[in-house]
Amino acid sequence: MSVAPGPIPRRVVVALAAGSLLLTAACSGRADESSGSGAGSNTGSDEPIVVGMSFPLSGPLSGAAAVADGAAAYFERINAEGGVGGREIDYQVLDDAYDPARQAENARQLVDQEDAGIVLTFGGISSATAPYLNGQKVAHVAFGTQAALSDTDATPYTRGWFPDGSWEGQVVAQHIQDEQPDASVGVLGIANDLTTSQVDGMAAAGLTPDKVLTVPPGVVDLTSQLNELRAAGVDTLFLAVVGPAQPATLRTMANIGYQPTTYLYSAASDLATSVGPAGPENATDAFTAQYFKDPADPRWADDEGVQAFKEDIAEYGDEANADSYLAIEGYGAAAAIVAALEDSGGEGGDAFTEAWDSIDGIDNPAILPDMQLSAGPGSRLVHQYRVLQFDGTSWQDAGDVVDADDLAQG
């Protein structure tokens, strides 16, 4: 250890600490006690609708900032068009660095200080914030695949935007069983609840993978796992890894000449961050069970929804996100939220969730053609899939639209 500094007159130090505490106190006065619960249900007024967002803008998952950017672009567009029923959308984005404690803090700030009526949160850690928001009866829209976010009994004010992870496992399993009933199936994924739920979904569809390998988040080099899968004779692989590991794995597979029939995880199959960096030739013939349009896919160059998205993101957001799958995911969510707001006549938890749950067959710029939003199992709005196949430049249809609602029955 270093040489000890001499003792310090503590009264001085304490005074300093007191100062820092008082500084905190000066941040904001104590709010009026009345605005505690049922926040922001100021129906009929022309006050802005406050939408709070807590997203990882820094740290390892800061890529999710694109989701917030996409949502913000849509809200801006709506504001430019006169708002929702004449009311402006006042969205506030806070950084949580994917730290649950900071997300919880942000949720309190958004509800307590900003008077947010709807709070959007990102990722599996949303389930850590859900109890607070539900306790405050604030509408909560979560970007997460976790089954916990579909549990509207436990958390009646929390709604998941995109599908439950297990459904994709079901859809993929069914496609494999239809196409190659004798396949030896392997799953390679990140060691978290996403992979678990996908494997559970496959099991629900009657398919038990021969080999399931998982790696901790952040591990990028999966050569060892690929060697093991190959040695085990796996000829059909569901690749459920995300982030840098996904393109790296596709490249490694090509390099070592291991070419099973590959299914990519829906959120890791876009051209900008997955298939592109992997090298399109290394992903050719791969399948994915998809629900959103990839704005970088030339197939959607003339698509109305994608065009609107690109215009808005260029006008109101960060143009660098024009090809981002994550950004259109956020854009689509914002569109769904605005649709629910238009029907609800207010953003209070009860009114908003009721409107959300009664959505039945509306269009959305982000989802694939021939699909519509409707409240499905777990009140998730997106629950239809179509299996696509990559032809080297674009994702083409390789099956019919499948609804998780039907799968859940069968």
Binding site: V219, T223, N227
Partner: protein
């Protein structure tokens, strides 16, 4: 059997990257007496700079030497400007400085190049060679050779040049070195520079396989720390051997040791740190007398 061999080969390939990073960490440790948590981020930064240079149209064979020089200047500059001021404040302050450097350079990379993964073509091409039942990619062979070359050069500098003699003298006994007219300050900066250059090669070799992202070397850093512990902080050779061993060990353990599995792959290197420090704190190659307190 074939799989065992193949797993060993791929363990060695990744192990080379850990080895180079471990060597860089050991070099800084021997001079400055601290672990540089930012060593991995420096390597990531180097990989991104090489990406920018190759996008600008530079030939890869020009990029490598250029990058080594740039990394050297960068490492030496960081020591001079950011590490020197706290050199007297004890090991904890030094360690915290490197943690701040980690956060800072990570943010700089993300600000300049964004957080999305980018692909970097292998400068060695996409060829695949088969030797018996084993597969080797051109990238693995070429990258491995490049890392080995860098480590060999570093070893030669330390072993056979007057500069290396001075560097070793400062690492061994800085007070004595000063009395012999060696400017220890300059040597520390040079040590950081060489470390950054070796690390840059590691980043350069890792990028085509792993894809460029701000998190390129996050895990490699942890594994390199384990490697340095295993090999011994006072031994450059030990760091390299430690890196190779860690590469092979973590590959084989997650595959063959029941209960470990891929999700606990990272537990292996840390178990290694644990055991080594308890049983042989100076590492496999280190000498007890030079382990800093």
């Amino acid at each position: 059997m074939t799989e065992l061999l193949q797993q060993t080969v791929s363990g060695l390939t990744t192990g080379l990257v850990y080895a180079a990073l471990a060597l860089a960490i050991a070099l800084v440790f021997q001079g400055t007496g601290t672990l540089n948590f930012a060593q991995g981020e420096f390597a990531t930064l180097a990989a991104f700079v090489s990406f920018a240079l190759s996008t600008a149209g530079l030939s890869w064979w020009l990029i490598v030497p250029l990058l080594v020089v740039l990394a050297f200047v960068f490492g030496a500059g960081v020591e001079r400007l950011l590490v020197r001021p706290v050199e007297g404040s004890g090991p904890l302050a030094l360690l915290t400085v490197t943690a701040a450097l980690l956060l800072g350079s990570n943010a700089v990379v993300a600000l300049i190049w964004g957080t999305d993964v980018r692909s970097m073509a292998s400068p060695f091409g996409g060829a695949v060679y088969h030797v018996g039942p084993l597969t080797f990619t051109a990238q693995a062979i070429g990258g491995g050779a490049l890392v080995l070359l860098a480590m060999l050069l570093c070893g030669l500098i330390f072993r056979f040049t007057p500069l290396g003699l001075r560097l070793r003298a400062v690492a061994d006994n800085p007070d004595s070195a000063r009395l012999l007219g060696i400017s220890t300050g300059v040597m520390l900066a040079v040590g950081w520079g060489i470390a950054a250059a070796v690390g840059a090669v590691a980043g350069l070799v890792a990028a085509p396989t792993l894809g460029l992202s701000p998190e390129l070397m996050t895990n490699a850093l942890l594994l390199a720390l384990a490697a340095v512990t295993l090999g011994g902080f006072s031994s450059r050779l030990g760091a390299v051997v430690g890196g190779l061993l860690i590469g092979v060990l973590s590959n084989l353990a997650s595959r063959y040791v029941p209960g470990i599995g891929g999700d606990l792959q990272l537990v292996v290197p840390f178990a290694v740190i644990f055991l080594v420090l308890l049983v042989r704190p100076q590492g496999l190659f280190g000498r007890a007398s030079t382990v800093r307190a």
